[in-house]
Symmetry: C2
Subunit: 368 residues, 2 copies
């Protein structure tokens, strides 16, 4: 089969890989085959995605020796015990080092499967088949894999690049509205950190995206992946500019940890987190009130929360943010904005301004 699609190459020397974007790609066996090492494939998915897409991936891989492991669905299962179930399945079915893993699902499945691939027998290949917008625009690009620890998100993990990403835009038809919005949070992020023209485009095309217009979605996915791929190619191991991809994430991770993983979606927490980052930037005089209001309006327009939960005390915020991976020598660093499309990592902010951002005086929007 040859399904029409866009292809984007992520340029990482001998770890380079293609991202295929288009409708119906999940059934295209020709996209998988060149990226499968050996004859055995373990499909890792979850209870929500399996009934929708597992049989179709199995059909596309006909003739190979397949295994499957179906995990519970939700960020709260992105833990050591659930991760270990992938190894249980691989070992029970005697998968050797010459197998390939396929991550079929959203970001949680991608992160856990990729991390299992990184560690199984010290490393086997894997292919990402992301079925949520969040995973298509973000989690499947860049090779970050990992699981959560009760004390912090993504604290245990590895850099492990997939052999290919197969992003079937038609899988987004089955995505709940709330998850579509969560994915759009990461899309907006690329505009905010490095692509002001894309931010303008998103502002103009919000209606089409929310209506799931296929062309608008494909454009948003490709431009997001292209932005992320450029950042990752320049800084694979996050020594520098890659940290900018964390805009809104330090605040967002704290929200997720405070609420318990799985209450707010990751993208929802990032949506509110980006507005908080903009709010702090405005307090520092780096962006003006109009810019803050515009950012807030675009994010709210995608159906995302723009205020943190009102019940987290400032001390708890600071405690949760202290475990962020950008902390150096005990000093908190944040991704802040000098304008739309212009972000930086900095520790140059006062605690007073930070605390004011954590406890806003504006009335909080209703929680999702």
């Amino acid at each position: 089969m040859k399904t029409p699609h866009r292809t984007l190459q992520v340029d990482l020397a001998d770890r380079s890989y293609p991202i295929y974007i288009g409708p119906g790609l999940i059934d295209d066996s020709g996209l998988y085959r060149p990226h499968i090492a050996g004859s055995r494939v373990m499909i890792v998915t979850n209870e929500t995605v399996a009934p929708l897409y597992l049989a179709r991936v199995q059909a596309a891989l006909q003739g190979l020796r397949l295994g499957e492991v179906i995990l519970p669905d939700g960020e709260q299962y992105k833990d050591l015990a659930t991760w270990n179930r992938i190894f249980d399945a691989l070992l029970a079915q005697r998968f050797g080092r010459d197998c390939t893993l396929i991550a079929l699902g959203g970001g949680v499945i991608g992160d856990m499967s990729g991390f299992a691939a990184a560690c199984y027998q010290r490393g086997v290949p894997f292919i990402q088949v992301p079925t949520t917008l969040l995973a298509q625009v973000d989690s499947s690009v860049g090779g970050k894999t990992g699981i959560n620890h009760p004390a912090g998100k993504n604290m245990i993990g590895a850099f492990h690049q997939p052999r290919a990403v197969i992003a079937d835009t038609r899988t987004l038809d089955t995505l709940p509205d709330r998850e579509l919005a969560a994915g759009l949070a990461e899309v907006v992020k690329y505009g905010l950190i490095r692509d002001p023209a894309f931010f303008d485009w998103l502002e103009a095309n919000a209606g089409a995206l929310l209506a799931r217009d296929p062309a608008a979605l494909a454009e948003a996915i490709e431009r997001s992946c292209r932005n992320k791929a450029e950042v990752v190619a320049a800084d694979e191991l996050e020594a520098g500019q890659r940290a900018l991809l964390n805009l809104g994430h330090t605040f967002g991770h704290a929200i997720e940890a405070a609420r318990g993983y799985g209450d707010w979606l990751h993208g929802e927490a990032v949506g509110a987190g980006m507005v908080m980052a903009a709010d702090l930037s405005r307090r520092l005089g780096w962006i003006d009130s109009d810019t803050l209001a515009r950012i807030r309006r675009v994010i709210a327009g995608f159906g995302l929360p723009v205020d943190p939960p009102p019940d987290i005390p400032a001390e708890r915020w600071l405690e949760l943010m202290a475990v962020d991976k950008k902390v150096q020598d005990g000093t908190l660093r944040l991704v802040l904005l000098r304008g739309i499309g212009d972000a930086l990592v900095t520790a140059e902010f006062g605690t007073d301004d930070l605390v004011a951002t954590l406890a806003p005086t504006t009335a909080p929007a209703p929680a999702p």
Copy 2:
């Protein structure tokens, strides 16, 4: 302080690192400092080693912000739950990505700490301070890290090179005889797979090594590390010749799994496993009976078992060996010998010969 020592450089491009070998090095703060990133250091050790050496390492690192995690001692604790205790400690004490781990102990501590360093916040540096002969000659060179799964040894892990290895030969004074012998098994292995002159030297110096003559031990450690470093430099990710380092290990891992980890020491199982590999090589006509007898005599001379436990049925052997990482497309491959100093990885053996090796007709030596 400047303690006299030998230095061996492991050549791995930007992951190159030095191995320092000599008496009293554990106290030499000058050896640690250049390899510590940031100001925070987590020392990972176990209940046996901590009372002997923890305070000395802490003294050598005076002025840095130190943490410690003391794990139970034994191969049976090289598991997911114990590994997670390292993350518990790192997160409870708010260690950031700019910390350094120190693995103070034997191979189990080195493997678990190195794997924790590989995965903590997707990778932090670590330094190996091996306190057993096995760890000094083997586990601390080459970057293999990992933990066991109930279905197989070292099935979950990563390649993660240390920043430095500090091998204090005086720590071997406190090593039980049985553990010294277990380390000598890996020393003999280097002679068998690629260094016939070293095998001759070991045969001639067995008495001095068993008497813990410092010069003989230093020589054996340096030559073992040099052999391993050469193999690893040529094949960091085990695509080819590095697999030769597994001589005796497929049999040995099966023995350990069958007996339950921690009953036979790893080196003891490898000792018997190497004789089994030699036995199968003799059955295939690749080495003669005299060579087999010589190998058996040298290994027995170091106080190691030369026969497997008598109570493992052949089917169980085959089942346990089927999860070996050298299995490709379901076919078992073994490291066998064409002579002393001449090893190969091969699937060219018949099941009959293999089964004859698994159930030897010679009277087994007493178990350790």
